[in-house]
């Protein structure tokens, strides 16, 4: 895409050189034209300088009049990747507004995107992809590279060749593409919308709407920003990060129709797994090296995330001691385990948020068993102790915790369900597949607005309140509340016992969620979860974290199984062997 701008600039300035009368202009670092024959530098500077990576070069050149004339409908030529570039820019800006450091937008995401464009041969390369282009004669071109802004870090990763010819394509590329656009304009508003979906894109990663979020998450992970994927997706759903209807922020002249709708219109929320897997694919596709280390001081380290989730789940702070021990015992706090190494197939990739939640679930199972029996027994004991013990901290009562959290969870879940049902998917800017049904679509839109107004008046409640401020916490418990609904300070003493000089759980038993893990690569899951097969307390705990992370309980269950198997690996192996011996 950059190449188009360059060829355009060439066409922009075609006066003869004042000294040698040649027309062979290059660009200096300062953006001035210089003559390649006699090295005469002119006073003329290029007006379009692509220093801001997110600036849409094509759109800019349009405004300078160099782009192919406007189409009859007042739109202009644009490419699908430009659309995605705009979307990424919007998303990065939103993340910045949420407090993510500006490096993310200006350096990391920018580099990833450029690298992507290059690897997928959409720009920064000799021959942009596309059947039509191949047929063209590749003429030696001679305009200099655009001035590259200083990029202190990461650029070395991206193996961007900055030699002259590399960034250039044939001058006639744009005009050839316009031929394409003429023949395909019935199907899409963008130049390459139809090609985009038609092409066999197996060898390269095609951009989709969920992939934009994969880009964002990858950049966040690179910077080790304190934001998890589940949180990112929640912010998307809550509208803090542009995703749905993001095309309404496109410039007026970028018209969407036909196949563009299939690319840019989404009618589903991003799915955790999809975004996550796309991110892994992207990292491999871009040939990224090992990501920066996730150490125990990072937000994404399970010990840190456990603090957050323990708080949010209103569980005693003391449990953190136990989560740390589990993490340590099975080595999931190790840097090598936690750090993403693209392409390394031998390691299981870590979903930090789910992992941390699963650790807490395992700890709860260790201490309370969660078999619909033992946890209530312990709760009764704790209640008894609390009655006798008037001073000092309270003992943790599972029953009280369950009642308090269940109530809040039910209320919030109901709110969430209603919000989902009330979600408005359409924006002011209506979309139509072709000009033919434009009037119909507009009429429908008008009617929808009318009906919304009519019944909105009857609904009594004022139009939806402002979207809530973004928050890392969905459930809040404060110790300042005197109603005793906060369990952070409660003590676990009642359920621990001193044995051989160290505190262990009173509970001597354990039940495994699964005996045998499935093959994740073949089956897609490590384990399988069906609510009715498991104790209700266990399901409740899964449901709580499923609500907090906005993912299916089965994902947490998978991770719980994985942790259990690491934890009990030795015992389980012996036991299975023992069983088979017995059978013989």
């Amino acid at each position: 895409m950059l190449t188009h701008a360059l060829s355009a600039c060439q066409r922009d300035f075609n006066e003869r050189c004042a000294q040698c009368s040649e027309v062979n202009w290059g660009l200096t670092d300062g953006g001035r034209y210089y003559c390649r024959s006699c090295h005469n530098v002119t006073e003329r500077t290029r007006e379009v300088v692509n220093t801001d990576f997110m600036t849409n070069s094509r759109v800019q050149t349009i405004s300078k009049g160099s782009r192919k004339q406007e189409k009859t409908d007042g739109g202009c030529e644009w490419y699908v990747c430009e659309g995605f570039q705009l979307i990424l820019k919007k998303q990065a800006e939103a993340l910045e507004a949420l407090g993510v450091c500006s490096q993310m937008k200006d350096e990391v995401l920018y580099s990833f995107w450029r690298c992507y464009l290059q690897k997928s041969k959409q720009a920064y390369c000799n021959r942009p992809a596309g059947e039509t282009v191949k047929a063209l004669s590749v003429r030696e071109s001679s305009t200099d590279v655009d001035s590259e802004p200083e990029r202190p870090s990461l650029l070395h990763l991206l193996s961007l060749s900055e030699s002259e010819g590399d960034l250039l394509t044939d001058c006639s590329f744009a005009s050839s593409m316009s031929k394409v656009s003429e023949s395909t304009s019935i199907y899409s508003g963008s130049v390459d919308g139809s090609l985009y979906l038609m092409k066999n894109q197996k060898e390269k990663l095609r951009m989709t709407m969920p992939t934009t979020l994969s880009f964002c998450y990858m950049a966040l992970l690179w910077l080790r920003e304190p934001i998890t994927l589940s949180e990112l997706l929640r912010f998307v759903v809550e509208g803090h990060i542009p995703y749905l209807n993001v095309f309404q922020h496109f410039p007026e002249k970028m018209k969407l129709c036909g196949l563009d709708l299939k690319i840019f219109c989404v009618e589903s929320w991003p799915v955790y797994e999809e975004v996550y897997n796309k991110m892994l694919e992207l990292a491999v596709f871009l040939d990224l090296p090992r990501f920066p280390d996730i150490t125990d001081s990072c937000f994404l380290h399970p010990d840190m995330l456990c603090i957050k989730y323990l708080m949010e789940a209103n569980l005693p702070d003391e449990l953190h001691n136990w989560t740390c021990r589990v993490v340590k015992k099975i080595g999931i706090g190790e840097v090598d385990f936690l750090t993403l190494v693209p392409g390394n197939k031998s390691t299981r990739k870590v979903k930090y948020d789910i992992l941390a939640a699963a650790v807490i679930v395992v700890v709860l199972k260790l201490l309370f068993l969660l078999d619909d029996h033992y946890e209530w027994l312990l709760s009764d004991l704790a209640e008894e102790r609390n009655k006798n013990n008037k001073e000092g901290g309270l003992y943790f009562e599972f029953k009280k915790w369950y009642e308090v959290v269940k109530h809040s969870l039910d209320v919030e879940q109901k709110k969430l369900d209603e919000e989902r049902a009330k979600y408005l998917w359409r924006c002011e800017k209506p979309l139509f597949y072709s000009v033919k049904n434009k009037s119909r679509v507009l009429k429908r839109r008008q009617m929808v607005v009318n009906l919304q107004n009519q019944f909105g008046k009857l609904s009594g409640s004022v139009r939806r309140a402002e979207k809530p401020n973004p928050s890392s916490f969905q459930l809040r418990w404060s110790e300042e509340n005197t109603d005793g609904s906060c369990f952070h300070g409660h003590s676990l003493k009642g359920i621990l016992q001193e044995k051989c000089g160290l505190l262990t759980a009173m509970n001597p038993d354990y039940w495994l969620c699964t005996v045998k893990l499935c093959n994740e690569k073949l089956c897609g899951h490590l384990a399988h979860y069906r609510e009715e097969d498991f104790p209700q307390s266990y399901h409740f705990v899964l449901r709580l974290f499923s609500f907090l992370l906005r993912i299916q309980p089965s994902y947490i269950h998978d991770e719980v199984c994985m942790i259990e198997h690491k934890l009990f690996n030795k015992k389980l192996y012996k036991k299975l062997k023992y069983n088979t011996v017995l059978r013989k």
Binding site: W322, K422, L451, G456, L458, A527
Partner: protein, 466 residues
């Protein structure tokens, strides 16, 4: 049993002891984890399903919230969710059994009908939009609109709307909605009938005063013609058209066209293509009665009604008519009719029905002829009528509430169940105690006729002479 576990525990405990055993929470030097035992039986799990939250799902959820709200008559809440549901109009769901636009029409109508803040103006505005939304149900929407207008007493507006709908043309859709069009025309005919009958009343009043207004009369006749044409059309189609038939017959009778009226009613009652409809026979019976027709035709009309609805209120008239008949067969039918009517709870406390039965039963007993009729009817009822009609509780209640009823019932009970039956015993005892003459006579009558009971109940077939 888990002896092999001990070595690990020991090993861990040893490590724990080496470090500070009671390390404070959160310190870097934590005691290692002590692992509990595994159960004897290991658990095998199953698979799960997951769904994406998407546009369609969200709208489906929205719809179910609307339905819940409507069921609980929370019209405000229903309206609130409907505001969010209308978006589904912008999505083509042609494969759905009921399209969103139809949903919105039905739900919106319901909300606007019940919501405290809605007005007729708002309703009209909504309906106009709905009309443009679906050509396929244009006439249905029109018809529904008309009903709403009529319910709100806006008869002129309703008439206007019907006329407009009648002139609607939309390619092949007009033909496809032929049935709806017929209904539209029929309802216009009905409104024409309405104004005809209004004018008729005006004329009749003025006629009494000696005024005769020619223009009103002419207008009335033109109303008649318009109404008659449309009403005649609709009742040709098999269906339940009670209202239309009644109005059409009224028109015909007013203008003296009794033959046509009879034909219409006969067709309506007897054409097998029409669904079974008790009212058709009622209308025919009433017409025949008005016309003073022969007993025979009247009875045949009621006979069919008896077959369809044995509990119909006209069965009393039917029984009276049959009892008077000289033919045995008809009297026999009369007994059947009144017994059948009293099988239904609705007649339980109807004095008229019981007196009909009492009269006929008494007649038969006195004449001592056809006791087998009673026996036959009683046979299928003797298991349940005593509990259904003749319990001690009912005897007590009937006596308290309605002496006439208990008298008639006691007579029947005395004959059917003998003098020792609970009902008869209680009522006759009470009657004698209250020194009411007819109860004493009743007691005597039953006591004397007790052998009849034995014959009816089949206890002494051989001992009693026929």
């Amino acid at each position: 049993m888990d002896s092999f576990l001990e070595e690990e525990e020991d090993e861990e405990a040893a490590v724990g002891r080496k470090r500070s055993p009671a390390a404070p929470a959160g310190s870097t030097l934590q005691p290692p984890l002590h692992l509990p035992f595994l159960p004897v039986l290991l658990h095998q799990p199953a698979s799960s399903h997951e769904n994406k939250v998407n546009f369609k799902k969200s709208k489906e959820a929205c719809l179910s919230y609307i339905q819940d709200a409507m069921l609980q008559k929370q019209w405000k809440r229903a309206a609130e969710f409907l505001t969010f549901y209308v978006e589904s109009l912008e999505k083509d769901y042609s494969r759905e059994p009921i399209s969103p636009s139809e949903m919105i029409w039905r739900i919106g109508t319901e909300i606007l009908c019940h919501h405290s803040h809605s007005s007729m103006k708002e309703f009209n505005c909504f309906v106009e939009q709905m009309k443009t939304l679906g050509v396929k149900r244009y006439l249905k929407v029109c018809l529904e609109h008309v009903f709403h207008l009529l319910c709100n007493g806006q008869i002129d507006e309703a008439y206007q709307n019907l006329s407009l709908a009648e002139s609607w043309r939309f390619g092949e859709q007009t033909a496809l909605q032929d049935k709806e069009m017929k209904l539209i025309q029929a309802y216009r005919g009905l409104l024409d009938y309405y104004s005809w009958s209004k004018q008729k009343n005006v004329l009749l009043e003025r006629g009494l005063d000696g005024f005769a207004d020619l223009s009103v009369e002419q207008e009335m006749h033109s109303c008649f013609r318009k109404a008659a044409v449309n009403l005649k059309e609709i009742i040709k189609i098999p269906g339940v058209w009670d209202l239309f038939v009644k109005c059409y017959v009224d028109l015909l009778e007013f203008y003296g066209d009794h033959n046509e009226a009879r034909q219409v009613l006969n067709e309506y009652a007897y054409n097998s293509k029409f669904p079974a409809n008790p009212n058709a026979h009622v209308y025919l019976y009433q017409f025949l009665k008005r016309q003073g027709e022969s007993k025979k035709s009247v009875i045949s009309a009621l006979k069919i009604l008896h077959d369809i609805v044995p509990s119909h209120e006209l069965m009393i008239d039917f029984n009276t008519m049959l009892q008077k008949s000289k033919k045995r067969k008809k009297r026999r039918l009369g007994l059947e009719v009144i017994f059948a009517a009293l099988d239904y709870a609705g007649w339980k406390e109807n004095v008229k029905a019981w007196s009909c039965l009492a009269r006929q039963v008494k007649q038969i007993v006195i004449s001592e002829k056809h006791l087998d009729w009673i026996k036959q009817e009683w046979n299928s009822r003797k298991d349940w009528w005593p509990a259904f009609h003749f319990s001690r509780y009912l005897a007590k209640r009937n006596w308290q509430e309605n002496k006439n009823l208990s008298y008639e019932k006691a007579l029947v009970a005395g004959i059917l169940l003998g003098k020792d039956g609970k009902y008869f015993k209680y009522v006759s005892h009470q009657g004698c105690k209250a020194q009411v003459k007819r109860f004493r006579i009743l007691k005597k009558f039953v006591n004397r006729r007790n052998p009849v009971y034995l014959r009816i109940s089949g206890l002494s077939d051989s001992s009693v002479q026929p």
